[in-house]
Symmetry: C2
Subunit: 241 residues, 2 copies
DNA sequence: CTGTATTATTGACCTGGCTCACTATACAAA
DNA sequence: TTTGTATAGTGAGCCAGGTCAATAATACAG
Protein backbone atom coordinates (compact mmCIF):
# COMPACT_ATOMS: atom_id res chain seq x y z
CA UNK A 1 0.00 0.00 0.00
CA UNK A 2 1.89 3.01 -1.24
CA UNK A 3 0.25 5.43 1.16
CA UNK A 4 1.37 3.71 4.30
CA UNK A 5 4.28 5.38 5.94
CA UNK A 6 5.85 3.64 8.87
CA UNK A 7 9.05 5.61 9.10
CA UNK A 8 7.83 8.49 11.21
CA UNK A 9 7.37 7.38 14.75
CA UNK A 10 5.91 8.75 17.89
CA UNK A 11 4.39 11.94 16.57
CA UNK A 12 1.48 13.42 18.32
CA UNK A 13 -1.65 14.11 16.34
CA UNK A 14 -1.03 17.83 16.58
CA UNK A 15 2.33 17.73 14.88
CA UNK A 16 2.11 18.69 11.22
CA UNK A 17 3.85 16.34 8.86
CA UNK A 18 5.86 17.30 5.81
CA UNK A 19 4.69 16.52 2.29
CA UNK A 20 7.33 13.89 1.84
CA UNK A 21 6.21 12.18 5.02
CA UNK A 22 2.56 12.78 4.37
CA UNK A 23 0.46 9.70 3.91
CA UNK A 24 -1.59 11.27 1.17
CA UNK A 25 1.43 12.03 -0.91
CA UNK A 26 0.20 9.41 -3.32
CA UNK A 27 -2.46 11.95 -4.16
CA UNK A 28 -0.72 15.25 -3.59
CA UNK A 29 2.59 14.08 -4.96
CA UNK A 30 1.87 11.13 -7.17
CA UNK A 31 4.43 8.44 -6.60
CA UNK A 32 7.09 8.47 -9.25
CA UNK A 33 6.76 12.09 -10.16
CA UNK A 34 10.04 13.93 -10.26
CA UNK A 35 10.20 17.18 -8.27
CA UNK A 36 9.73 19.40 -11.29
CA UNK A 37 6.45 17.64 -12.00
CA UNK A 38 5.38 18.12 -8.45
CA UNK A 39 5.88 21.83 -8.81
CA UNK A 40 3.34 21.84 -11.60
CA UNK A 41 0.71 21.59 -8.91
CA UNK A 42 -0.19 25.13 -8.06
CA UNK A 43 1.47 26.18 -4.86
CA UNK A 44 -1.72 27.72 -3.50
CA UNK A 45 -3.53 24.43 -3.86
CA UNK A 46 -1.24 22.77 -1.42
CA UNK A 47 -0.33 25.43 1.10
CA UNK A 48 -1.54 24.27 4.47
CA UNK A 49 -4.02 26.50 6.27
CA UNK A 50 -4.46 26.69 10.01
CA UNK A 51 -7.94 26.24 11.48
CA UNK A 52 -8.89 26.91 15.06
CA UNK A 53 -10.78 24.35 17.08
CA UNK A 54 -14.40 24.06 15.97
CA UNK A 55 -13.85 25.84 12.68
CA UNK A 56 -16.20 24.84 9.90
CA UNK A 57 -14.05 23.76 6.94
CA UNK A 58 -17.03 23.38 4.65
CA UNK A 59 -20.79 23.23 5.03
CA UNK A 60 -23.34 20.80 3.69
CA UNK A 61 -24.63 21.87 0.30
CA UNK A 62 -21.98 24.46 -0.46
CA UNK A 63 -20.18 24.33 -3.80
CA UNK A 64 -17.00 22.36 -3.30
CA UNK A 65 -14.48 21.33 -5.88
CA UNK A 66 -11.63 20.56 -3.56
CA UNK A 67 -10.60 17.86 -1.20
CA UNK A 68 -8.71 18.58 2.00
CA UNK A 69 -5.68 16.73 3.27
CA UNK A 70 -5.30 16.76 7.05
CA UNK A 71 -1.70 17.59 7.89
CA UNK A 72 -2.36 17.85 11.60
CA UNK A 73 -5.36 17.73 13.89
CA UNK A 74 -8.69 16.14 13.16
CA UNK A 75 -12.20 16.83 11.93
CA UNK A 76 -15.67 15.43 12.17
CA UNK A 77 -18.07 15.26 9.25
CA UNK A 78 -21.75 15.43 10.01
CA UNK A 79 -25.14 16.14 8.61
CA UNK A 80 -28.05 17.81 10.31
CA UNK A 81 -31.34 15.97 10.03
CA UNK A 82 -34.77 17.48 9.63
CA UNK A 83 -35.13 17.68 13.40
CA UNK A 84 -31.96 19.68 13.69
CA UNK A 85 -30.06 16.80 15.21
CA UNK A 86 -26.42 16.46 14.30
CA UNK A 87 -25.37 13.06 13.01
CA UNK A 88 -21.66 12.43 12.69
CA UNK A 89 -20.85 10.37 9.61
CA UNK A 90 -17.09 10.18 9.97
CA UNK A 91 -14.02 11.31 11.84
CA UNK A 92 -10.82 12.08 9.99
CA UNK A 93 -7.39 12.45 11.44
CA UNK A 94 -3.89 13.24 10.40
CA UNK A 95 -3.17 11.72 7.00
CA UNK A 96 -6.78 11.50 5.88
CA UNK A 97 -8.42 13.18 2.94
CA UNK A 98 -11.81 14.79 3.45
CA UNK A 99 -14.44 15.80 0.95
CA UNK A 100 -14.36 12.91 -1.50
CA UNK A 101 -18.15 12.63 -1.45
CA UNK A 102 -18.47 16.05 -2.98
CA UNK A 103 -16.82 14.91 -6.21
CA UNK A 104 -20.12 13.43 -7.32
CA UNK A 105 -21.86 16.72 -7.90
CA UNK A 106 -19.53 19.48 -6.78
CA UNK A 107 -21.39 20.05 -3.52
CA UNK A 108 -20.37 19.16 0.01
CA UNK A 109 -22.60 16.39 1.30
CA UNK A 110 -21.74 17.01 4.95
CA UNK A 111 -20.46 19.66 7.26
CA UNK A 112 -16.81 19.35 8.19
CA UNK A 113 -15.61 20.86 11.45
CA UNK A 114 -12.25 20.73 13.19
CA UNK A 115 -12.16 18.99 16.55
CA UNK A 116 -9.01 20.83 17.55
CA UNK A 117 -6.52 23.28 16.07
CA UNK A 118 -5.72 21.68 12.73
CA UNK A 119 -3.78 22.22 9.58
CA UNK A 120 -5.42 21.26 6.29
CA UNK A 121 -4.23 21.49 2.70
CA UNK A 122 -6.92 22.33 0.22
CA UNK A 123 -6.35 20.45 -3.03
CA UNK A 124 -8.28 22.03 -5.87
CA UNK A 125 -9.56 19.31 -8.11
CA UNK A 126 -9.64 21.27 -11.32
CA UNK A 127 -5.99 22.12 -10.87
CA UNK A 128 -5.25 18.54 -9.98
CA UNK A 129 -7.08 17.09 -12.94
CA UNK A 130 -5.76 19.72 -15.30
CA UNK A 131 -2.36 18.04 -14.99
CA UNK A 132 -3.84 15.01 -16.70
CA UNK A 133 -1.65 12.77 -14.68
CA UNK A 134 -3.33 9.36 -14.94
CA UNK A 135 -1.56 8.29 -11.77
CA UNK A 136 -3.23 11.02 -9.76
CA UNK A 137 -6.67 9.99 -10.91
CA UNK A 138 -5.88 6.34 -10.40
CA UNK A 139 -4.66 7.03 -6.90
CA UNK A 140 -7.71 9.08 -6.13
CA UNK A 141 -9.93 6.25 -7.36
CA UNK A 142 -8.05 3.74 -5.27
CA UNK A 143 -8.42 6.03 -2.29
CA UNK A 144 -12.16 6.25 -2.80
CA UNK A 145 -12.40 2.56 -3.34
CA UNK A 146 -10.52 1.92 -0.12
CA UNK A 147 -12.80 4.38 1.64
CA UNK A 148 -15.79 2.44 0.38
CA UNK A 149 -14.26 -0.68 1.85
CA UNK A 150 -13.56 1.03 5.16
CA UNK A 151 -17.10 2.34 5.27
CA UNK A 152 -18.33 -1.21 5.00
CA UNK A 153 -16.12 -2.18 7.91
CA UNK A 154 -17.47 0.61 10.03
CA UNK A 155 -20.93 -0.41 9.01
CA UNK A 156 -20.25 -3.94 10.16
CA UNK A 157 -19.11 -2.56 13.49
CA UNK A 158 -22.38 -0.79 13.91
CA UNK A 159 -24.76 -3.52 12.88
CA UNK A 160 -25.32 -6.56 14.99
CA UNK A 161 -22.77 -5.92 17.67
CA UNK A 162 -23.08 -5.01 21.29
CA UNK A 163 -22.33 -1.53 22.53
CA UNK A 164 -19.02 -2.77 23.91
CA UNK A 165 -18.03 -4.20 20.56
CA UNK A 166 -18.90 -0.94 18.85
CA UNK A 167 -16.73 1.06 21.19
CA UNK A 168 -13.88 -1.43 21.08
CA UNK A 169 -13.83 -1.62 17.31
CA UNK A 170 -13.99 2.15 17.16
CA UNK A 171 -10.88 2.33 19.33
CA UNK A 172 -9.18 -0.37 17.29
CA UNK A 173 -9.93 1.37 14.02
CA UNK A 174 -8.29 4.53 15.32
CA UNK A 175 -5.39 2.48 16.59
CA UNK A 176 -4.96 0.94 13.14
CA UNK A 177 -5.17 4.33 11.48
CA UNK A 178 -2.45 5.64 13.80
CA UNK A 179 -0.20 2.73 13.00
CA UNK A 180 -0.77 3.11 9.28
CA UNK A 181 0.35 6.68 9.61
CA UNK A 182 3.51 5.87 11.46
CA UNK A 183 2.22 6.81 14.90
CA UNK A 184 1.92 4.70 18.00
CA UNK A 185 -1.01 2.33 17.82
CA UNK A 186 -1.14 1.86 21.57
CA UNK A 187 -1.07 5.46 22.76
CA UNK A 188 -2.80 8.35 21.07
CA UNK A 189 -5.05 11.29 21.65
CA UNK A 190 -8.78 10.88 21.20
CA UNK A 191 -9.68 14.32 19.90
CA UNK A 192 -13.43 13.85 19.98
CA UNK A 193 -15.76 14.05 22.97
CA UNK A 194 -17.64 11.09 24.42
CA UNK A 195 -20.77 12.71 23.05
CA UNK A 196 -19.29 12.69 19.56
CA UNK A 197 -18.26 9.05 19.90
CA UNK A 198 -21.72 8.14 21.11
CA UNK A 199 -23.34 10.05 18.27
CA UNK A 200 -21.08 8.38 15.71
CA UNK A 201 -21.70 4.89 17.06
CA UNK A 202 -25.40 5.35 17.66
CA UNK A 203 -25.13 4.91 21.43
CA UNK A 204 -26.05 7.00 24.45
CA UNK A 205 -23.19 9.01 25.96
CA UNK A 206 -23.76 7.27 29.25
CA UNK A 207 -23.28 3.90 27.61
CA UNK A 208 -20.00 4.98 26.05
CA UNK A 209 -18.84 6.33 29.37
CA UNK A 210 -19.75 3.13 31.20
CA UNK A 211 -17.90 1.06 28.62
CA UNK A 212 -14.76 3.17 28.98
CA UNK A 213 -14.98 2.69 32.71
CA UNK A 214 -15.45 -1.05 32.35
CA UNK A 215 -12.48 -1.37 29.97
CA UNK A 216 -10.37 0.62 32.42
CA UNK A 217 -11.46 -1.59 35.32
CA UNK A 218 -10.41 -4.64 33.32
CA UNK A 219 -7.11 -2.86 32.67
CA UNK A 220 -7.49 -3.21 28.91
CA UNK A 221 -7.08 0.53 28.43
CA UNK A 222 -6.03 3.61 30.39
CA UNK A 223 -7.01 7.17 29.80
CA UNK A 224 -5.71 10.37 31.29
CA UNK A 225 -7.42 13.40 29.81
CA UNK A 226 -7.80 12.75 26.12
CA UNK A 227 -4.80 10.43 25.87
CA UNK A 228 -5.83 6.84 25.41
CA UNK A 229 -3.46 3.99 26.12
CA UNK A 230 -4.21 0.50 24.96
CA UNK A 231 -2.75 -1.96 27.46
CA UNK A 232 -3.87 -5.19 25.89
CA UNK A 233 -4.41 -4.93 22.18
CA UNK A 234 -5.02 -8.61 21.53
CA UNK A 235 -7.54 -8.84 24.34
CA UNK A 236 -9.44 -5.97 22.74
CA UNK A 237 -9.22 -7.68 19.36
CA UNK A 238 -10.69 -10.82 20.88
CA UNK A 239 -13.64 -8.78 22.14
CA UNK A 240 -14.70 -7.91 18.63
CA UNK A 241 -14.14 -11.43 17.25
CA UNK B 1 -27.51 13.57 -13.11
CA UNK B 2 -26.58 11.94 -16.37
CA UNK B 3 -27.19 8.41 -15.16
CA UNK B 4 -30.80 8.89 -14.24
CA UNK B 5 -33.15 7.53 -16.81
CA UNK B 6 -36.80 8.25 -16.38
CA UNK B 7 -38.02 7.31 -19.82
CA UNK B 8 -38.50 3.59 -19.27
CA UNK B 9 -41.53 2.95 -17.18
CA UNK B 10 -43.15 0.06 -15.47
CA UNK B 11 -40.47 -2.57 -15.96
CA UNK B 12 -40.18 -5.36 -13.53
CA UNK B 13 -36.86 -5.97 -11.85
CA UNK B 14 -36.34 -9.11 -13.86
CA UNK B 15 -36.56 -7.44 -17.21
CA UNK B 16 -33.12 -6.81 -18.70
CA UNK B 17 -32.56 -3.33 -19.97
CA UNK B 18 -30.71 -2.34 -23.11
CA UNK B 19 -27.38 -0.53 -23.01
CA UNK B 20 -28.93 2.66 -24.28
CA UNK B 21 -31.51 2.53 -21.49
CA UNK B 22 -29.06 1.30 -18.92
CA UNK B 23 -28.49 3.61 -16.02
CA UNK B 24 -24.79 2.88 -15.93
CA UNK B 25 -24.27 3.84 -19.53
CA UNK B 26 -22.33 6.81 -18.25
CA UNK B 27 -19.71 4.23 -17.34
CA UNK B 28 -20.19 1.58 -20.01
CA UNK B 29 -20.87 4.04 -22.75
CA UNK B 30 -19.47 7.34 -21.67
CA UNK B 31 -21.86 10.10 -22.54
CA UNK B 32 -20.84 11.92 -25.67
CA UNK B 33 -18.94 9.05 -27.20
CA UNK B 34 -19.91 8.35 -30.76
CA UNK B 35 -20.82 4.74 -31.57
CA UNK B 36 -17.47 3.93 -33.12
CA UNK B 37 -15.79 4.88 -29.86
CA UNK B 38 -18.17 2.69 -27.95
CA UNK B 39 -17.11 -0.24 -30.02
CA UNK B 40 -13.57 0.25 -28.84
CA UNK B 41 -14.68 -1.33 -25.60
CA UNK B 42 -14.03 -4.99 -26.00
CA UNK B 43 -17.21 -6.86 -26.76
CA UNK B 44 -16.48 -9.56 -24.22
CA UNK B 45 -16.22 -6.98 -21.48
CA UNK B 46 -19.78 -5.96 -21.92
CA UNK B 47 -21.65 -9.08 -22.95
CA UNK B 48 -24.24 -9.81 -20.28
CA UNK B 49 -24.01 -13.15 -18.53
CA UNK B 50 -26.91 -15.00 -16.97
CA UNK B 51 -26.64 -16.12 -13.35
CA UNK B 52 -29.03 -18.46 -11.61
CA UNK B 53 -30.54 -17.56 -8.27
CA UNK B 54 -27.97 -17.80 -5.48
CA UNK B 55 -24.98 -17.84 -7.80
CA UNK B 56 -21.79 -16.43 -6.36
CA UNK B 57 -20.58 -13.71 -8.71
CA UNK B 58 -17.33 -13.20 -6.83
CA UNK B 59 -15.92 -14.22 -3.48
CA UNK B 60 -14.25 -12.22 -0.76
CA UNK B 61 -10.50 -12.09 -1.27
CA UNK B 62 -10.42 -13.30 -4.85
CA UNK B 63 -8.47 -11.34 -7.43
CA UNK B 64 -10.89 -9.01 -9.13
CA UNK B 65 -10.19 -6.36 -11.69
CA UNK B 66 -13.69 -5.91 -12.97
CA UNK B 67 -16.87 -4.28 -11.92
CA UNK B 68 -20.28 -5.73 -12.73
CA UNK B 69 -23.26 -3.86 -14.08
CA UNK B 70 -26.61 -5.34 -13.11
CA UNK B 71 -28.80 -5.47 -16.21
CA UNK B 72 -31.55 -7.42 -14.49
CA UNK B 73 -32.12 -9.04 -11.15
CA UNK B 74 -30.35 -8.24 -7.91
CA UNK B 75 -27.47 -9.26 -5.68
CA UNK B 76 -26.40 -9.06 -2.08
CA UNK B 77 -22.85 -8.32 -1.00
CA UNK B 78 -21.72 -9.75 2.30
CA UNK B 79 -18.74 -10.68 4.36
CA UNK B 80 -18.37 -13.60 6.69
CA UNK B 81 -17.06 -12.76 10.12
CA UNK B 82 -14.69 -14.81 12.21
CA UNK B 83 -17.63 -16.67 13.76
CA UNK B 84 -18.86 -17.70 10.34
CA UNK B 85 -21.78 -15.32 10.49
CA UNK B 86 -22.83 -13.68 7.25
CA UNK B 87 -23.15 -9.92 7.35
CA UNK B 88 -24.78 -8.25 4.39
CA UNK B 89 -23.12 -4.94 3.51
CA UNK B 90 -25.26 -3.94 0.56
CA UNK B 91 -27.98 -4.90 -1.86
CA UNK B 92 -27.73 -3.95 -5.49
CA UNK B 93 -30.46 -3.99 -8.05
CA UNK B 94 -31.04 -3.30 -11.69
CA UNK B 95 -28.90 -0.38 -12.83
CA UNK B 96 -26.31 -0.68 -10.08
CA UNK B 97 -22.62 -1.33 -10.41
CA UNK B 98 -21.05 -3.84 -8.04
CA UNK B 99 -17.42 -4.37 -7.11
CA UNK B 100 -16.15 -0.82 -6.81
CA UNK B 101 -14.47 -1.59 -3.48
CA UNK B 102 -12.12 -4.02 -5.18
CA UNK B 103 -10.49 -1.25 -7.18
CA UNK B 104 -8.39 -0.36 -4.15
CA UNK B 105 -6.22 -3.46 -4.26
CA UNK B 106 -7.56 -5.72 -6.98
CA UNK B 107 -9.27 -8.05 -4.54
CA UNK B 108 -12.95 -8.48 -3.83
CA UNK B 109 -13.72 -7.17 -0.36
CA UNK B 110 -17.04 -9.01 -0.09
CA UNK B 111 -18.90 -11.95 -1.50
CA UNK B 112 -21.48 -11.11 -4.12
CA UNK B 113 -24.40 -13.45 -4.66
CA UNK B 114 -27.49 -13.18 -6.83
CA UNK B 115 -30.83 -13.04 -5.03
CA UNK B 116 -32.67 -14.25 -8.12
CA UNK B 117 -31.94 -15.10 -11.74
CA UNK B 118 -29.93 -12.10 -12.88
CA UNK B 119 -28.04 -10.75 -15.80
CA UNK B 120 -24.75 -8.98 -15.15
CA UNK B 121 -22.22 -7.38 -17.47
CA UNK B 122 -18.65 -7.77 -16.40
CA UNK B 123 -16.65 -4.67 -17.20
CA UNK B 124 -12.95 -5.36 -17.20
CA UNK B 125 -11.16 -2.39 -15.74
CA UNK B 126 -7.88 -2.80 -17.60
CA UNK B 127 -9.74 -2.76 -20.89
CA UNK B 128 -11.79 0.17 -19.70
CA UNK B 129 -8.79 2.18 -18.57
CA UNK B 130 -6.72 1.20 -21.61
CA UNK B 131 -9.02 3.43 -23.64
CA UNK B 132 -7.69 6.39 -21.70
CA UNK B 133 -11.00 8.08 -21.93
CA UNK B 134 -10.90 10.73 -19.24
CA UNK B 135 -14.68 10.82 -19.25
CA UNK B 136 -14.90 7.19 -18.27
CA UNK B 137 -12.57 7.65 -15.34
CA UNK B 138 -14.32 10.82 -14.34
CA UNK B 139 -17.67 9.09 -14.44
CA UNK B 140 -16.35 6.19 -12.43
CA UNK B 141 -15.00 8.58 -9.83
CA UNK B 142 -18.30 10.41 -9.65
CA UNK B 143 -20.04 7.07 -9.27
CA UNK B 144 -17.81 6.10 -6.37
CA UNK B 145 -18.17 9.51 -4.84
CA UNK B 146 -21.95 9.23 -5.05
CA UNK B 147 -21.74 5.77 -3.55
CA UNK B 148 -19.77 7.20 -0.65
CA UNK B 149 -22.54 9.71 -0.15
CA UNK B 150 -25.23 7.04 -0.31
CA UNK B 151 -23.33 4.92 2.15
CA UNK B 152 -23.46 7.80 4.58
CA UNK B 153 -27.20 8.01 4.11
CA UNK B 154 -27.65 4.34 4.80
CA UNK B 155 -25.42 4.74 7.77
CA UNK B 156 -27.64 7.51 9.10
CA UNK B 157 -30.62 5.23 8.72
CA UNK B 158 -28.97 2.64 10.85
CA UNK B 159 -27.65 4.79 13.64
CA UNK B 160 -29.96 6.38 16.14
CA UNK B 161 -33.25 5.35 14.69
CA UNK B 162 -35.90 2.93 15.84
CA UNK B 163 -36.40 -0.43 14.17
CA UNK B 164 -39.44 0.94 12.39
CA UNK B 165 -37.49 3.87 11.00
CA UNK B 166 -34.78 1.53 9.78
CA UNK B 167 -37.26 -0.64 7.91
CA UNK B 168 -39.17 2.32 6.52
CA UNK B 169 -36.05 4.08 5.28
CA UNK B 170 -34.87 0.82 3.78
CA UNK B 171 -38.12 0.59 1.83
CA UNK B 172 -37.92 4.23 0.84
CA UNK B 173 -34.36 3.87 -0.38
CA UNK B 174 -35.40 1.02 -2.64
CA UNK B 175 -38.38 3.03 -3.79
CA UNK B 176 -36.08 5.93 -4.68
CA UNK B 177 -33.71 3.63 -6.49
CA UNK B 178 -36.58 2.24 -8.54
CA UNK B 179 -37.73 5.70 -9.47
CA UNK B 180 -34.23 6.78 -10.44
CA UNK B 181 -34.10 3.83 -12.77
CA UNK B 182 -37.36 4.59 -14.46
CA UNK B 183 -39.40 2.00 -12.57
CA UNK B 184 -42.42 2.46 -10.36
CA UNK B 185 -41.53 3.83 -6.98
CA UNK B 186 -44.74 2.64 -5.38
CA UNK B 187 -44.84 -0.97 -6.54
CA UNK B 188 -41.84 -3.24 -6.89
CA UNK B 189 -40.51 -6.64 -6.03
CA UNK B 190 -38.46 -7.07 -2.86
CA UNK B 191 -36.05 -9.75 -4.01
CA UNK B 192 -34.46 -10.36 -0.62
CA UNK B 193 -35.83 -12.38 2.27
CA UNK B 194 -36.92 -10.94 5.59
CA UNK B 195 -33.86 -12.59 7.06
CA UNK B 196 -31.63 -10.72 4.62
CA UNK B 197 -33.35 -7.43 5.40
CA UNK B 198 -32.97 -8.07 9.12
CA UNK B 199 -29.32 -8.95 8.70
CA UNK B 200 -28.67 -5.84 6.62
CA UNK B 201 -30.42 -3.53 9.08
CA UNK B 202 -29.04 -5.15 12.19
CA UNK B 203 -32.45 -6.29 13.45
CA UNK B 204 -34.00 -9.62 14.36
CA UNK B 205 -36.13 -11.24 11.64
CA UNK B 206 -39.07 -11.26 13.99
CA UNK B 207 -38.80 -7.51 14.45
CA UNK B 208 -38.77 -6.94 10.69
CA UNK B 209 -41.78 -9.20 10.31
CA UNK B 210 -43.70 -7.42 13.05
CA UNK B 211 -42.95 -4.05 11.48
CA UNK B 212 -44.20 -5.21 8.06
CA UNK B 213 -47.36 -6.41 9.76
CA UNK B 214 -47.81 -3.11 11.59
CA UNK B 215 -47.28 -1.08 8.40
CA UNK B 216 -49.84 -3.26 6.63
CA UNK B 217 -52.35 -2.82 9.48
CA UNK B 218 -51.93 0.93 9.18
CA UNK B 219 -52.48 0.51 5.44
CA UNK B 220 -49.25 2.29 4.62
CA UNK B 221 -48.06 -0.65 2.54
CA UNK B 222 -49.39 -3.87 1.04
CA UNK B 223 -47.49 -6.97 0.18
CA UNK B 224 -48.51 -10.01 -1.73
CA UNK B 225 -45.66 -12.48 -2.04
CA UNK B 226 -42.55 -10.47 -2.76
CA UNK B 227 -44.39 -7.58 -4.41
CA UNK B 228 -44.44 -4.53 -2.21
CA UNK B 229 -46.92 -1.73 -2.75
CA UNK B 230 -46.51 1.60 -1.06
CA UNK B 231 -49.93 3.07 -0.40
CA UNK B 232 -48.93 6.23 1.35
CA UNK B 233 -45.49 7.41 0.43
CA UNK B 234 -45.61 10.71 2.24
CA UNK B 235 -46.83 9.08 5.43
CA UNK B 236 -43.85 6.75 5.27
CA UNK B 237 -41.56 9.70 4.66
CA UNK B 238 -42.96 11.41 7.73
CA UNK B 239 -42.10 8.35 9.78
CA UNK B 240 -38.40 8.79 9.11
CA UNK B 241 -38.44 12.56 9.61
C1' DC C 1 -5.86 31.48 39.87
C1' DT C 2 -10.77 31.39 39.88
C1' DG C 3 -15.48 31.14 38.24
C1' DT C 4 -18.24 29.29 34.67
C1' DA C 5 -19.27 26.15 31.14
C1' DT C 6 -18.64 22.07 29.11
C1' DT C 7 -17.79 17.28 29.36
C1' DA C 8 -17.60 12.88 31.84
C1' DT C 9 -19.21 9.64 35.16
C1' DT C 10 -22.41 7.12 37.94
C1' DG C 11 -26.95 5.45 39.65
C1' DA C 12 -31.89 4.06 39.26
C1' DC C 13 -35.22 2.76 36.48
C1' DC C 14 -37.75 1.51 32.17
C1' DT C 15 -38.66 -0.07 27.49
C1' DG C 16 -37.67 -1.50 22.58
C1' DG C 17 -36.24 -5.06 20.51
C1' DC C 18 -34.02 -9.67 21.17
C1' DT C 19 -34.54 -14.66 22.12
C1' DC C 20 -36.99 -18.76 22.19
C1' DA C 21 -40.79 -21.44 20.87
C1' DC C 22 -44.24 -22.30 17.96
C1' DT C 23 -47.52 -21.91 13.88
C1' DA C 24 -48.58 -20.62 9.13
C1' DT C 25 -47.60 -19.95 4.51
C1' DA C 26 -45.06 -20.42 0.04
C1' DC C 27 -42.64 -22.94 -3.13
C1' DA C 28 -40.00 -26.75 -5.33
C1' DA C 29 -39.63 -31.57 -6.33
C1' DA C 30 -41.80 -35.85 -7.06
C1' DT D 1 -51.79 -33.23 -6.05
C1' DT D 2 -48.67 -34.31 -1.81
C1' DT D 3 -44.77 -33.67 0.80
C1' DG D 4 -40.56 -31.46 2.36
C1' DT D 5 -38.14 -27.35 3.18
C1' DA D 6 -37.47 -22.62 3.43
C1' DT D 7 -39.54 -18.44 4.70
C1' DA D 8 -42.84 -15.58 7.27
C1' DG D 9 -45.58 -14.38 11.19
C1' DT D 10 -46.98 -14.36 16.24
C1' DG D 11 -46.71 -14.64 21.34
C1' DA D 12 -44.30 -14.46 25.93
C1' DG D 13 -40.72 -13.08 28.63
C1' DC D 14 -36.28 -10.91 29.44
C1' DC D 15 -32.28 -7.91 29.17
C1' DA D 16 -29.03 -4.51 26.92
C1' DG D 17 -28.97 -0.21 26.52
C1' DG D 18 -31.81 4.01 26.67
C1' DT D 19 -33.66 7.90 29.66
C1' DC D 20 -33.64 10.88 33.49
C1' DA D 21 -31.26 12.86 37.24
C1' DA D 22 -27.53 14.16 39.99
C1' DT D 23 -22.55 14.73 40.71
C1' DA D 24 -17.65 15.02 39.44
C1' DA D 25 -14.04 16.29 36.69
C1' DT D 26 -11.99 19.30 33.01
C1' DA D 27 -11.25 23.19 30.18
C1' DC D 28 -11.11 27.78 29.35
C1' DA D 29 -11.84 32.95 29.71
C1' DG D 30 -10.70 36.70 32.20
Amino acid sequence: MSQVNNTVDEMTMRTPIQCNQCSMQSICVPAGLIPSDVEILDKSSREPHLYNKRSVVFSEGEALNSVFAIKSGSVKCYTIDSNGKQQITSFHMVGDIVGLESLANGNASTYCETLETSMLCEIKLNKLFAQELPKVEGNLMRLMSRRLGNNSKHYLNIVNTSAEQKVVSFLLSISTHMQQHGLSRSEFRLPMTRTDIANYLGLAVETVSRIFTALKEQELIQSKQSILTINDLSALERRVA
